[in-house]
Amino acid sequence: MSNLTYLFMAFAFIWIGALAYLIRLSGLRKQLEERIDRLQDRLEKKELHNG
């Protein structure tokens, strides 16, 4: 392998790793935000129902 191949592999690993982690965090955050919204709706309805 040439020097440039090692250089490319190192840069690609870091870029892909950082992007994949950021995208995963962003996806999980969206899922949790939706879940919190749903749970809060349920909580408000239950509180109203229980008086």
């Binding site: 392998m1 020097n3 440039l4 090692y6 250089l7 592999m9 190192a10 840069f11 690993f13 870091i14 870029w15 790793g17 950082a18 982690y21 950021l22 965090l25 962003s26 999980l28 955050r29 949790l32 935000e33 879940r35 919190i36 749970l39 809060q40 349920r42 909580l43 239950k46 509180e47 229980n50």
Partner: protein, 227 residues
């Protein structure tokens, strides 16, 4: 608007990373002996700096948790530990990719390399500990473990001074023979990695806080069910 403002720092971090990449590939001079592969140095050192700061954050947050007993400190320690492990992984992958064409070997049991691998295992162990023991007990055990594990951070930094190895001394030897033209792209790279690390810690911290909110609302719902 609020959800869009959330993207400002990740976008800034990505722009900084592109600038750092341009600096390493286009502005930094080609090192005479090693050639282009030496450009790995800019991201290798940037990753190492980001990992050190992240683990320092784990150390401070762990002390904060032990003193204040507030979940927010534990969440910060968890977030910083995960990001620190990510950047240490970058160091441990980019290092051998640089070493192979220069030293002729992927890995050498050099003090700097060995202590860095230990650092990765210590903080991966911290994350496993967090997963294994749930609740307050787990958080407290992890905080104590993180404070003890931090001892390895200065050991990694000073290992090139304390023991003879083949890893070069870059920052600890009064410039270490670094070409002055390499310093601006190196500083840009280090700054970009610190920004990226900060963004990732913030995202992970928000995620941990959101998980706590889900747990709190679930408990409140269960309490209402029992009434």
């Amino acid at each position: 608007m609020k959800r869009n403002s959330h993207m400002i720092f990740p976008v800034l971090a990505m722009i900084a990373m592109v600038v750092a990449l341009a600096g390493a590939l286009l502005i930094a001079p080609t090192e005479r002996a090693m050639g282009d592969v030496q450009r790995i140095f800019y991201f290798h050192l940037g990753s190492a700096g980001a990992a050190f700061v992240a683990f320092t954050c784990v150390f401070i947050a762990s002390i904060g948790f032990i003193v204040r007993r507030e979940t927010v400190w534990d969440n910060l320690a968890l977030a910083a530990a995960e990001v620190g492990v990510l950047f240490t992984t970058f160091v441990l992958v980019s290092g051998p990719l640089w070493a192979r064409p220069i030293w002729g070997k992927w890995w050498v049991w050099d003090p700097r390399l060995t202590t860095t691998l230990m650092l990765w295992f210590l903080y991966t162990g911290y994350l496993v500990l967090r997963q294994t023991i749930p609740g307050y007990r787990g958080a407290m055990a992890a905080a104590v473990f993180a404070i003890l594990a931090y001892v390895d951070v200065p050991v990694v930094y000073f290992s090139v001074r304390w023991w003879r190895g083949i890893h070069p001394q870059v920052l600890s030897g009064g410039g270490g023979g670094l070409d002055p033209r390499m310093i601006p792209p190196l500083l840009v790279s280090v700054a970009a990695f610190q920004l990226l690390s900060g963004v990732l810690i913030r995202e992970r911290f928000n995620l941990a806080n959101a998980t706590d909110s889900v747990d709190r609302i679930t408990v409140a719902l269960e309490d209402l069910d029992h009434e």
